[in-house]
Amino acid sequence: MDLLKGKIALVTGASRGIGNAIAELFAQNGASVYANARKIGSLDSLLAKCENSSGRIMPLYFDVTDAAAAKQAVMRIKKESGRLDCLVNNAGIMPDALIGMIDQKVAREVFEVNVFAVMELIQLAARVMVRQKSGSIINLASIVGVNGNKGQLVYSASKGAVIAMTKTAAKELAPAGIRVNAIAPGMIDTDLFRSVGAEKVSGLLRNIGLGRLGKPSEIANAALFLASDMASYVTGQILGADGAALV
């Protein structure tokens, strides 16, 4: 299927996990995808995977917390492609700490990546999308941003902020034809999730109604829907994709 034929997308944090799956699926659906990651070369395998898709991948290496670099990136997209149809704010970090053990420096880092970078990219993308009077912004939130979770005071707060930003941006940008939605994944099999440790993972599995971890491709499917014209009347929504997980 070519649900995103001719569309221009920017996906942050596309070197691994969910962002990687989103970039791949978008390219398979005909989009020209500017894929972002930090380490030069870390998008090579994505490029190779997408060689024969109807869309294409264009690597854009920058740290999302570097506002000047983010601006350069959007400027490049604007120059090369003249438009931006979809922004996926996916890059995120999840260092866990129990209350009483929270390092302020780490907490700030989490907010830099998970919140402030998202805020900046929403602004930059909106400036391009407003002109074309259309666009879809998709933010990766989390089930813990909705429900909270032990040991995740900082991370859950950052994802709660993502949810609030999504709802506000949707209201503010709707008159310009820009849709803003978030996906709130449950437990998805990626490096980020596995970082909690193998023992904890097997315990957590018992809390998932569907009895298994989600796959990055399953979150990518939700993103594809929100990016496509199939979701043309959907905005300000937080789409849970959690296999009936209890958190």
């Binding site: 400027m75 400036r127 407003v130 002109r131 503010e172």
Partner: protein
């Protein structure tokens, strides 16, 4: 078009107003110059002069006159 004409044309096209409305025009002084109109204006100015404005300047661009002053930072003399 010289720089001044380009500058005026950006306001006229982005906000859908007439050239006569420009002198003394302030942010939110006309219905079209709201937050969406502001983004459209920024895009139009960036396109016209091949620049990308810093967020601090976007926030500062509060009037037709102020914009001229800000553009000087980007080597655009009006």
């Amino acid at each position: 078009m010289n720089h001044s004409e380009k500058y005026e044309a950006a306001f006229v096209s982005a906000l859908g107003i007439s050239k006569d409305d420009l002198p003394g025009l302030q942010y939110q002084g006309v219905a079209a110059w709201d937050s969406i109109g502001h983004m459209q204006l920024i895009f139009a100015l960036e396109e016209a002069f091949g620049i990308m404005l810093d967020t601090s300047d976007i926030i500062d661009l509060s009037s037709f006159e102020k914009g001229k002053e800000l553009l000087r930072k980007y080597d655009v003399e009006l």
